[in-house]
Subunit: 122 residues, 2 copies
């Protein structure tokens, strides 16, 4: 019952992944999310609780595939994991999965290092 939602929660999280993969957490404002996601501020808070809540949802989504979003992962590792234990835990999980699917931690480090260089090279 109640008024039906005018947006697709899945699409919203997908769009959030794209935003958080491109820019630092602090430089993605709630206004940015509201505009790019087409969801009203209040609905966003009703569904995800906070900006951080939406970010965590985006991380879970972006990491829940066989090839996780490496840009999202890099930003999370470098910027958020050191100051947010829940982010650190999600990162640990996906790193473990990557190690397993690539066969060794060394291969994962090289993969990340390469993506890092590519990202910093315009």
């Amino acid at each position: 019952m109640g008024r039906p939602r005018a947006f697709d929660e899945n699409e919203v999280v997908r769009a959030a992944v794209a935003l958080f993969a491109g820019r630092a957490y602090d430089s993605v404002s709630v206004d940015d999310l509201v505009h790019h996601l087409g969801v009203h501020r209040n609905s966003l808070y009703k569904v995800f609780g906070s900006k951080r809540g939406l970010y965590l949802a985006a991380l879970r989504r972006g990491f829940a595939t066989s090839d996780p979003d490496l840009d999202l992962l890099l930003l999370a590792m470098v910027e958020r994991a050191p100051v947010d234990a829940e982010v650190a835990a999600l990162v640990q999980n996906v790193l473990h999965d990557l190690d397993r699917s690539l066969g060794s931690p060394g291969a994962t480090s090289t993969l990340l290092g390469d993506r890092l260089r590519a990202r910093a090279t315009p």
Copy 2:
């Protein structure tokens, strides 16, 4: 002539390196810099022009050694280089130097990937 400075510009840049190596650019506020560096707001702007000016000075300092500050470098690569061409150029320089001193781009990628993992692992 004029009133002498009450702070050491070198020490200020060194402290800025430590701050910018630990947290994302956007989450280091000018207030943070003022408090941790012991320099007054106004002096900071007189000497460095802007928060970005001080950040660039910190990058130049943190990269100007034979073993550059890897945390500072990682944050710059992931977060600032994509949105600031001058940062990207400084990053390219230090990466080139690293490639040369380590012998190969592959070694640099692995070094960065390893530091990345260490940083994200509390």
